[in-house]
Symmetry: C2
Subunit: 258 residues, 2 copies
């Protein structure tokens, strides 16, 4: 694995990177019944952006995404999937910034030139467990923190659109594969599971119907209730049956298959 710091844009020669292609990561974690997105705050400029980076000349695009995600979250090989590549000419028009203002050093000028070219950006969606995650700002940022999806600050460039497209993608996933493995704790109630789906879909689901459908798919293991005081009133706890869950991710569920 490449040294984590080696991709810091001030330390590497921009010629090490592919020109005009960047990666932006929509990292999602679920906590306190809400969807959270990881954001970097650009130092001084007080602008929020998605964690992202560039691709080394000798690196696969997926490897670059894995490296960038590890740099920002500390998680090795987090669950991630490329979901869309953003290629509009005007995708950066919303925000005009000048980096390294006043710096005359050759390295800074070289990087400013690199950063000022037109970029196409591939979006990666990653689902993580917040408790495994150690958010780390990149060298241009002074904060890297979680933000509730429904209360995001204004984002730089087209990053708001990238987040929305990632959520659209997640909504699609829910209709052809199980979702929840890295988002929910190991054991959860059916209500926890339903609230996650409702948060993703942004609408309420019928309780009986949801439970019936989910149980029918066979990827949930139900655990015996603990024998204790008021235990008969406690809801059942479930966990994902990893083998069956992964089979369904592979094979797909959905209207035709169900």
């Amino acid at each position: 694995m490449r040294n984590l710091k080696s991709s810091s844009i001030l330390q590497a020669n921009p010629e090490f990177f592919l020109p005009g292609i960047s990666i932006d990561c929509v990292v999602i974690a679920y906590d306190l019944n809400q969807i959270n997105i990881l954001l970097n705050k650009l130092e001084v400029l007080d602008l929020w952006m998605l964690p992202g980076g560039f691709i080394f000349q000798d690196e696969d695009m997926d490897q670059a995404a894995t490296r960038i995600l590890e740099e920002r979250t500390g998680i090795k090989l987090p669950y991630m999937k490329q979901f869309y590549t953003f290629g509009d000419v005007n995708r950066r028009d919303r925000t005009r910034i000048t980096l390294f203002d006043g710096r005359k050093d050759k390295a800074y000028l070289r990087f400013r030139k690199f950063l000022e070219q037109r970029f196409i950006s591939s979006g990666y969606l990653s689902l993580v467990d917040m408790r495994d995650c150690h958010p780390t700002p990149d060298i241009l940022s002074d904060e890297c923190t979680w933000h509730p999806f429904n209360k995001l600050p204004e984002l730089i460039y087209d990053h708001g659109e990238i987040v929305n497209k990632a959520m659209e993608e997640l909504r699609r996933w829910i209709n052809y594969m199980p979702v929840g493995m890295s988002l929910l704790p190991e054991k959860f109630t059916m209500k926890d599971f339903q609230i996650l789906y409702e948060q993703i879909l942004d609408r309420e689901l019928d309780r009986g119907n949801f439970q019936k459908k989910m149980l029918k798919l066979g990827f949930l293991d139900r655990h015996e209730k603990q024998l204790s005081g008021g235990a008969h009133k406690a809801p059942y706890l479930y966990s994902f049956n990893e083998k069956k869950y992964n089979e369904l991710v592979e094979k797909g569920i959905g209207y035709i298959n169900s």
Copy 2:
């Protein structure tokens, strides 16, 4: 609209294009109960490849895909969707070719240099009606023709993988939206519709279940049988109800929604 020939790689200065980013199109048409893919044959080299091209500096990536698709099919604004971006370092390792061998002209050498850099390629999936389509080879090719998906010739670079990924995507589409609008003729039997789905999924579907599910979604209009000789034995003809079809494309069908 830009002059169609302007993107011919020998006529344009490579500096007009974004470096290192190409577009590859998987154009699918359905005919004689099989899925067909549009391929270009590279002149002299006898190598088949997907129709593709580059992105002008002042052009959105989607615009470039639309332009390239129009150049190869003659169809203005065909139904298309970006589905994946291929970014492996070794994606061209399968095929080693030298273009313009022996040519010493400056324009050729400049283009060879452009073509020899590492490319990341965005795949676009397009569904078209074969009868609307006028396949036109690009300037490096001497043929542009349809090939049955299950009898494809060997393809250049990672284009075989790109086709497979496009088919995977189409299989996913089928589980969250209706598919068939630009693939089937205006009127079709339920059997025609089922065979299309079976070809896409590469497996047989239960006839009664398929018909029930499709009718339940409400995007099919059934037409009265023509009153003629043995007409009572003829199957019903259906057509897509465009408004309801598009609503479902927008809203999505799928396991949770159904």
